[in-house]
């Protein structure tokens, strides 16, 4: 199990500039090996984000799979916009593109679940003990999970991307399709909510 106490780089290894354009070209040519390589490079990071957003391992796998398939579908358009050797190719970051897709997919699924349930998403979808019981049990991991999952989905995404994935604010804002000022405001509210929730449990931050 990968935990946040371990280093959590956003990507597995930093590709050379323009490398992603070459991978996009191979994906556009329908090369299964290229898709396998993309899964190996970015799958773990996307799974961490999706899991911490949803709190459900199966849901997180579905999100990663859907993000990868969207990359597969959109590879021809991406490759056409970023031809190998061009300046646009040097700017292409498939990891950031996948991060944005996975974050939006997770937010969409959380909103859909809330709409279907008519209220807040159950914090423990996999049958884990409820937050009150967890707090009483003093299990630290479940307490963290309860705190994060109690946040609204966008605040949750801001915490996941900046704290756990250690993305700079600008990149995290880009992944959430927000401007930097709005993202910083969102992040401020998320941190405040986390501290208040922890204080409410009797343990001051």
């Amino acid at each position: 199990m990968h935990t946040a106490t371990e280093p959590a780089p956003a990507v597995r290894s930093a590709p050379p500039p323009g490398d992603d354009a070459a991978w996009a070209a191979r994906l556009a040519a329908r090369d299964p090996a290229a898709l396998r390589e993309m899964i190996a490079r970015h799958g773990t990071a996307l799974h961490r984000v999706a899991y911490r957003m949803t709190g459900d391992a199966h849901e997180a796998e579905d999100i990663v799979q859907e993000a990868m398939l969207r990359l597969w579908d959109n590879a021809p358009a991406i490759a056409a916009k970023h031809p190998v050797g061009s300046q646009a190719a040097a700017r292409l970051r498939l990891g950031g593109w996948l991060q944005r897709v996975a974050t939006n997919l997770a937010i969409d699924r959380l909103r859909r679940a809330r709409r279907l349930s008519g209220g807040e998403v159950p914090e423990e979808e996999d049958g884990a003990p409820l937050a009150d019981e967890v707090i009483e049990a003093g299990e630290r991991d479940n307490l963290a999970r309860a705190l994060v999952l109690a946040l609204p989905e966008r605040q949750r995404a801001a915490i996941v991307l900046t704290y756990y994935e250690e993305l700079p604010n600008a990149e995290a804002a880009k992944a959430m399709d927000m401007n930097i000022k709005a993202f910083e405001s969102l992040l401020h509210r998320a941190r405040t909510a986390l501290r208040q929730a922890l204080t409410a449990q009797g343990d001051a931050p």
């Binding site: 199990m1 990968h2 935990t3 946040a4 106490t5 299964p32 898709l35 396998r36 899964i39 190996a40 799958g43 773990t44 799974h47 961490r48 899991y51 911490r52 391992a57 796998e61 990663v64 799979q65 990868m68 398939l69 597969w72 579908d73 959109n74 630290r140 991991d141 479940n142 307490l143 963290a144 999970r145 705190l147 994060v148 915490i159 900046t162 704290y163 756990y164 250690e166 993305l167 700079p168 604010n169 995290a172 910083e184 992040l187 401020h188 941190r191 405040t192 986390l194 501290r195 922890l198 343990d203 001051a204 931050p205």
Partner: protein, 312 residues
């Protein structure tokens, strides 16, 4: 733990703080083995993506602007059509000409000079369609009488033009009808003689009407000079018809020609006689002098008495 830059008002979660210690306990599972194979299998069986939209998606601002442009263009087209068909004039909304608008924009005086003929040209056009003369109140001053006579002359001139146009149209349509039916059509010389005879008859009729009008006008002028107020009978030269007779005339006039003749036949002989005498008296009052013998009948029928408007 967090390396992102501090935000305003609330600093980052410091490593080692109680909150950081709690958050660091949120571990994540690894991806299951065979996940990549599953994704590859799904990619193989995945339906091809939908083709791109034929029209590229446009921003909301552009869509709103496009709708506004279409609305303005539609309104302009409707307004132009209304102005061209004269709807706005019927609603008493003045529509300036393009030259007038251009002159008001540029400040040149050409349009004001050129606008005058337009107004003058509109007067004969309106005179060709006779407007009813409404006499409100008694006419008892020479100025009122002159104005009344001026308006009467204006309407009479328009009616004469219309009569000549109707006669000309009837001659042409009759010739066309005969030509289409394969009948003999008059030669140009015959047509010229026919037109001359008709013109002679029309002129004689107008002379009689003018003479009658001149006599009435002398009488009206004497009456006004004596300070008396003119009545409607003085101006029109007709005795006011009785309400019953007026109703009968109106009923007959409003009927189609075939039904009018039928209604005439269905009257009793006494009614027919009374109505004919009344019509004769009205005609005699309007044309006191006996007309000269009519010229030879023309192939083009003269307008029906009930269809032609009264002389005055």
């Amino acid at each position: 733990m967090s390396v992102n830059e501090p935000d305003r008002g609330s600093g980052p979660i410091a490593p080692g703080s109680p909150l950081a210690r709690v958050l660091d306990g949120y571990g994540t599972p690894d991806l299951p083995a065979g996940f990549a194979d599953r994704v590859l299998a799904a990619a193989e069986t995945r339906a091809p993506p939908l083709p791109e939209l034929r029209r590229p998606a446009r921003s909301r601002r552009w869509r709103i602007g496009q709708r506004l442009a279409i609305g303005v263009a539609s309104f302009g087209a409707l307004a132009t059509a209304a102005a061209a068909t004269g709807v706005l004039e019927q609603l008493a909304i003045p529509v300036p000409s393009a030259k007038t608008v251009w002159a008001s924009l540029t400040g040149s005086g050409e349009a004001s000079a050129s606008a005058a003929p337009v107004v003058d040209a509109a007067v004969p056009a309106s005179a060709s369609t006779p407007a009813p003369i409404i006499i409100d109140g008694p006419i008892d001053t020479p100025e009122e009488l002159q104005e009344t006579l001026r308006r009467v002359d204006q309407v009479r001139a328009g009616r004469r033009e219309e009569r000549r146009a109707i006669i000309d149209q009837r001659i042409k349509s009759e010739i066309e009808r005969r030509r289409a039916a394969g009948l003999r059509v008059p030669t140009p010389e015959e047509e010229a003689r026919l037109r001359a005879r008709i013109e002679q008859a029309v002129t004689a009729r107008e002379q009689r009407a003018d003479a009658a009008a001149a006599a009435r006008r002398e009488a009206m002028q004497r009456k006004v000079e004596n300070g008396e107020a003119l009545t409607r009978e003085d101006v029109t030269g007709r005795k006011p018809a009785s309400p019953e007779a007026r109703e009968r005339f109106r009923g007959l006039r409003d009927l189609p020609p075939g039904e009018r003749a039928k209604a005439w036949r269905e009257m009793t002989p006494e009614e027919r006689r009374a109505l004919a005498e009344e019509l004769r008296a009205r005609r005699a009052a309007r044309l006191p002098q006996q007309p000269a013998p009519e010229p030879a009948p023309t192939p083009a029928p003269a307008p029906a008495p009930e269809a032609s408007p009264p002389a005055e």
